[in-house]
């Protein structure tokens, strides 16, 4: 399956991109994508659990299995207002 991964704020700076499409085995969870990112980027290594996770613009548990076509975003600590 393919999912679209969006990067915002500090995560965009760390990864150097604002989005990418990735190919994953069926049923992969957002938390597993987070672990991949931790493996790739030293600045994230200390973050065992993902920040808040959104699938298709709604907050969900990072342990929810993903489906083909999902849009996934890890939400760093928000600071609006």
């Amino acid at each position: 399956m393919r999912v679209r991964l969006l990067y915002f704020a500090v995560l965009r700076d760390i990864t150097g991109k604002s989005e990418e499409v990735i190919e994953l085995p069926e049923g992969t969870r957002a938390a597993e994508i987070w672990n991949r990112l931790r493996g790739k980027h030293d600045q994230l290594a200390g973050y065992e659990r993902p920040p808040m996770t959104a699938i298709n613009e709604t907050y969900v548990s990072p342990d929810q299995p993903l489906r083909d076509g999902d849009e996934v975003a890890f939400i760093p600590p928000v600071a609006g207002g």
Binding site: A9, A79, G81
Partner: protein, 147 residues
Amino acid sequence: MFSVLSVVINSMSYLTDAPIDSQELVKRVMRPSDGACVVFEGVVRDHHEGKKVESIFYDAYRPMAEKEIQRIIDDINIRFPQVAAAVVHRLGKLKVGEASIVIACASPHRGEAFEVCRAIIDRFKQTVPIWKKERGPDGEEWVGWQK
């Protein structure tokens, strides 16, 4: 019977790249039956945790931020049907003294207008996917991110 709910504007964008006109928000919410309007402006200040701040860059997951703000407004409309509320958050680069958010709450009486204004900003800061990068003489930093 006249329904105050019908006056609340739900279909507009809550995000803007331009300076916010708070008087426009006041006009949007005020009805002849209102005796109070509370306006909250969140403003860029020149310091944060002992560091000088010159400007702030606001970033957002725009479509999700719009939805989250709509959720806040919908909940408020259910809990406080007599209050009309409007919210606009600005994105991009803001200088010290500029408003990043304006919330206007109109109500027949002041108590609920104050209460709702406070409730909206408190919840906004917890759930809406907006981020800020502070810039100052010492460099720049995403607020809230522990390195």
